[in-house]
Each structure stands twice: as C-alpha cells, then as structure tokens.
C-alpha cells in the first residue's frame, strides 16, 4: 500500500510528521516532484477558476501522484491551534479535488481541527490509520514519534535551513552570505515553492545574502511580534507572517530589510500585507511586497529584487558615512 503526499501547501510545514507517521505504521509513502510548469498547468486546468496559484499547484501535485499511489493524502486543515483557523480555500481543498471530475485514487482526507487542543491532531491521525486498517497501539506509538520528529525539524529550521533542506537530509547549513541579511516572509507554500517563488531564496543567497524566513524564527519571537497588535489574529498562516514581520521591524538589528511574497488574490494577505507595511513605514524599515501568480515572466521579479537589495545597501552605506556608530559588518559577525 502506498500513500502519495503532494509537495504543496502545508507539506512545507507538516511533511515530517506524515513521513514519520507512515514509516512507523509501515505504510509506503511517496512524494510528488518539486513543482514544475507541467504540474502547475495540469492543476490550473482541473481546479475552479478563482482558486489562487498555490491551490492550483496543489491540484497539479495530486494529479501527478494519482496514477502511482493507492491513496493521496489531502488533509483538511481546519485549525492548528486554539481559536485560530486555516484559510478557507485550504479547508475546502479535499472537496474541490473530489468535485474536479478527475480520475484519481481515494483521498486520505482527515479533518485536522486543533481549535480545541492537540487532541484534534490525535483524532485525525487515528482516522487516517483506521482508513489504512492499522491498529490502535501502533497508531499511538507513531503519533508520539511523529511529534518528536516535528520538534527535531524545528531545530533544523531555527538553525537556518529551509524546510526542503531540513526535510531532505541537508544537515549542515551552508555558510550564510555576509552582504546583507534579508527576511523573506510569506505563506510557506509561496516562499518555498520553486516555481511560484521563482526560487527567491536561492536567488538572494546567490547574491551573497543571508535569508531568514518566518519558519526559521523560534515561536517565542513570533509571539513577541504579535504582542504589538491590539487584537488577536485568527488566521494561523498570517500570524506567522505578521508575527515574524513585526518582530523584525521592532528588532531592526536582526535583519536589514523585509520582502513579503504573496500570491495574487490572497484574501488573508490583502489585510496582513498592508498592516505590516504600515508598521514598517512607521519605523522607516525597508519593506517590499512582491505579488506572484501563474505568470512566468521573471524579469519583473528580478528588477524589483535587484532594486530592493541596492536600496537597502545604499541606506546602510549612507548611515555608516553619516554616523560614527553602527558598523554593519561587525553586527553581522555576531549573528549565528
């Protein structure tokens, strides 16, 4: 028996959990290849027209796995923490896939609802293993191992690895660039998808820039950032983005600038991007929002990235010339 895991959406957060869970249950598990044009096009054709690019990509991954597996894993993420929710398009994904009229194996689509606590996750994993006809004890044991795996991966992320690097065996972090340190924020399936993000992280790294993302921050820092808000946000994905952004804006020594990468037509980001931009502007902190969609023209992205990097560098050089304190190089040497 083989379960297919689409390399899309919350794969970038929860893959280690599933991988370990299936391994413990002795269920085969395969992953779709990194997003490419063929996957995106197939997904875009099969999904409702108003879906965002990440949902189209997810559909493409499901279709890529379909001929090779007995089940496709498409969990219905409702909530991953108390009183906080996941985007409705992600919640509705299993239904969207079932109604697409495409030929495919049965979906493993447990409801993951942790709005009332972690027991919700246990319930979802129980449901999954019941579908796979596995016993109670092996499920409980697998559950514990899976949670431990998630904690292990979080340490790797905090050490500066991207999810793909942390999931697939890169243990040592490459030497971080010393030119600048820039935060790239956004929903993980935008930031790390090689096609949608046009490899933004690698592009910046190739320019000698040390890239830090929301996933690489300890959760306490995210909470610290969110404490700036007068009201609680109830979208989990936005909490990560905004929490990290506000943390950086208020700890200006940590990074030199923030790039927010969002998908065209994202409802959550339309609010959060503006909120973050206002906070950044108040502190005169370099901030740029990039909107990506299915279009493949890289020229626009490259121009904006280049200009942003040069702007940030210009500001730093200027500040160094004007003020006797604040040596940029020294400050970076102190960072891990």
């Amino acid at each position: 028996m083989i379960v297919g895991v689409p390399r899309a959406l919350l794969y970038y957060v929860y893959y280690p959990l599933w991988r370990r869970f299936f391994a413990e249950l002795e269920v085969g598990c395969i992953l779709s290849p990194p997003t490419n044009e063929a996957i995106m096009n197939a997904g875009a054709r099969a999904v409702v027209d108003e879906a965002c690019a990440p949902v189209k990509i997810a559909m493409g991954h499901v279709l890529a796995l379909a001929p090779e597996v007995d089940y496709v894993l498409v969990p219905r993420f409702v909530s991953v923490e108390p009183r906080t929710y996941i985007c409705p398009k992600l919640m509705g994904l299993p239904d969207m896939i079932r109604q697409s009229g495409q030929k495919m194996p049965p979906l493993l689509a447990p409801d993951i609802d942790m709005s009332k606590g972690y027991l919700g996750l246990a319930r979802a994993l129980m449901e999954t293993s019941r579908c796979l006809e596995k016993g109670l004890w092996s499920t409980v044991r697998s559950f514990h191992h899976s949670l431990a795996e998630m904690r292990r991966i979080k340490h790797k992320l905090i050490a500066g690895l991207t999810p793909e690097e942390a999931f697939h065996g890169t243990n040592r972090r490459r030497k971080p660039g010393r030119r600048l340190r820039i935060a790239v924020l956004g929903h993980p399936y935008n930031v790390y998808d090689p096609l949608l993000s046009m490899n933004i992280v690698e592009r910046l790294r190739a320019e000698g820039i040390d890239v830090i993302t929301a996933e690489m921050l300890p959760l306490e820092h995210i909470s610290l950032g969110l404490s700036q808000l007068r009201k609680k946000l109830f979208w989990s994905l936005s909490k990560m983005v905004l929490g990290a952004g506000l943390y950086f804006v208020n700890h200006a020594a940590e990074v030199d600038g923030i790039i927010l990468l969002s998908s065209f037509g994202c409802g959550l980001e339309s609010l959060v991007a503006d909120l973050l931009e206002r906070h950044a502007r108040r502190q005169e902190f370099p901030f740029m929002q990039l909107t990506v969609d299915e279009h493949s023209g890289e020229a626009g992205l490259i121009t904006r990235l280049e200009a942003f990097v040069e702007t940030v560098e210009g500001r730093i050089n200027n500040a160094r010339n004007l003020s006797p304190h604040g040596d940029h190089e020294l400050r970076h040497a102190g960072n891990p």
């Binding site: 290849p33 490419n36 206002r278 969609d293 279009h295 121009t303 200009a307 040069e310 702007t311 200027n318």
Partner: protein, 323 residues
C-alpha cells in the same frame, strides 16, 4: 572634442533609448525610438543614429544597459554594466537634479516611484501586475480617439470641466470614457478626466501610503504629456520638475554607471548595427518545466542563452568557450 564616450541603452517595452555622454557627463547624442516589438532592430537603428551624431574617431570607453530588455541588449552590444531601472533613474536624477526627493517615472508598461534622501534611494515601488495608467494605455486611448499621442496633453489643458473617469483598471477606464463620450462630454473634458484618473490611480496604487516630499521630478515618456503633469501638480500641490532629458533618464543613468568602468570595455563597436542577429526560442525537454530557452546568435555564433530556470544554458560563457 570629447576624449571618451560612454553609452547608455534603455530598452523598454514600448521605446528604446540610447544616450552618449562624454567623460564629464554632458549629453553628446541621444536617440528615442519605438521598440515596436523588435528590440534588436530598435537598438540597431538607435545606435546608427547615435553613431552618425557623434564626432568620428572618439573611442567608446564604456557601455551599460537597463530596461526590461537589458539582458538581450547587453548580449547584442557587449555591455560593461547591466542595471535595473530603479537604480538607473535614481543615478541620473541625483546627477542632474541633486535636490530632488521624489521621482515619478511613468513608462510604457511600468510606473515607479523612487524616494531619495541624502543622495540615496530610501524607498521605491513599482506597479503590480496591472499596467493601467501607463504609457501604452494612453497610447491606445489616443489612437482610439484619433488624437496624436503628442497632442493629448495640450488637448487636456483646454478642458473646461474635466469629467470623472474610473482609473482603477484600463478596461473600466475605457468603457467609462466611451460612456462619457456617448453622453456628450467634450473630447478635451474626457481627456483631462483621463489624466486625472491616471494620476489618482498612480497615487493610490504605486505611491500607496508613501510620503511624497518635494522637489518632485516627473520623468519617463509620459512626462511629455502636459495634461498629466498639470494633474500631478494639482493633486500634490508641489512643484514638479521635468528634466531636460526626461524621456531618456534611464539610459542617461546607466551611461553614468558605465563611467567608472572606463578602459576595458566589452563594447563590440558600432559594427553591431549591421550584424545579422538571430533570436530563437526552443522548448527544452530536460525536465517538466519545459522552459522556453532563447538562444541569441550573431552571424550564426551563439552569444548567449537565457530563459532557462536551471542555468544549464545561461550559465555558460559562450564567448570564452568559443562555440
């Protein structure tokens, strides 16, 4: 007679600009031609014009390119510097008008705002996925109304009471204009309304939330439109300077950026105006991305490749390999 010449090329979506300056930064020659979907032909024609205008026998000491066609332009002419448009415009403005704090640049497909302080760019923004309110939209409307684009601005100044046009989206703006024309508004009122709508759209989309400090410089091809200039002046209540070379500021900026490279230029010489260039796109079937890889050849010899995501073709230096 100048001792050295530096060339700046700005290959934009709608127009191709080439500027030649001397070592002191004075403009010796300039050319502004429509790209018309054929950037190579446009670059060659523009260079031909420049070569004709320059004093003979003076060596070209540095070349730089910018604009959305900067990579191809660089492959064609052999550039020493390839720079983005933001840096190019900021460089030119800081040299020509050092006191300017805000640059408003509206070109064919892009519009930008650049904020300057103490001689550095402190912030910038470009239009997002939508090209409403850029030069190509104005071009289209001028064509539809049967008014030459060069006279659109003058026509707007004649307006008695500009009508209100929705400027959010080019498609809606057009249907709004047609609606206004069918209800009997005068052409000048409609055109003036269009100018105001474009400025409103620019300020709320591109300049969204940014503090626009004076002096302001308005540049790019659209700065030729006095109707838009007047609409900006009344919306911002700030003096707006349109520099002498407003329409070639990007090219001028990279020409300045080419100056420090003097000595070891990669410029192929003005002979490229007659070179036989072939650009051919081919689908690579190396992986599922199916990139359309573009090969650029001069007289049959590969000069450069681009368009591949993985770098399999573009990362090879074809000039040194000698393929």
């Amino acid at each position: 007679m100048p001792s050295k010449i530096f060339l700046g090329l700005d290959v934009g979506s709608v127009s191709t600009k080439v500027v030649a300056i001397d070592a002191l930064g004075h403009v010796l020659a300039r050319s502004y031609l429509p790209t018309q979907g054929q950037p190579i032909v446009a670059i060659q024609s523009a260079l031909r014009e420049i070569a004709r205008a320059l004093p003979p026998g003076v060596p070209v000491a540095g070349v730089a390119t910018t604009g959305s066609g900067r990579v191809m332009a660089s492959a064609l002419v052999g550039a020493d510097v390839v720079k983005n448009e933001i840096t190019a415009h900021a460089t030119a403005t800081l040299r020509v008008l050092p006191s300017v704090r805000t640059i408003i640049e509206i070109g064919g497909q892009d519009s930008k705002i650049i904020l300057l302080n103490h001689g550095v760019v402190t912030d910038f923004a470009m239009n997002t996925v939508c090209a409403a309110g850029t030069g190509s939209f104005l071009d289209r409307q001028a064509h539809r109304l049967g008014v030459p684009i060069t006279e659109l601005g003058e026509l707007a100044l004649k307006a008695a009471s500009p009508t209100r046009i929705a400027g959010r989206c080019a498609v809606f703006a057009e249907s709004d204009m047609i609606h206004k024309q069918q209800t009997g508004h005068s052409l000048s009122d409609i055109v003036a309304g269009l100018c105001e709508a474009l400025v409103r759209n620019y300020l709320s989309n591109v300049a969204k939330g940014k503090t626009i400090a004076g002096p302001v410089s308005f540049q790019g091809g659209v700065a030729a439109n006095v109707g838009i200039l007047k609409a900006f002046e009344s919306a911002l209540a700030l003096p707006i300077i349109v520099p002498e070379h407003y329409d070639v500021m990007g090219a001028l900026g990279v020409a300045y950026l080419a100056q420090p490279t003097a000595g070891q230029t990669r410029f192929r010489g003005f002979g490229v105006v007659a070179a036989d260039c072939q650009v051919k796109g081919e689908d690579c079937d190396g992986c599922g991305n199916r990139c359309e890889v573009v090969g650029f050849r001069i007289d049959g010899r590969v000069q450069a490749y681009w368009g591949d995501r993985c770098g399999k073709y573009s990362h090879v230096n074809y000039l040194s390999v000698g393929t």
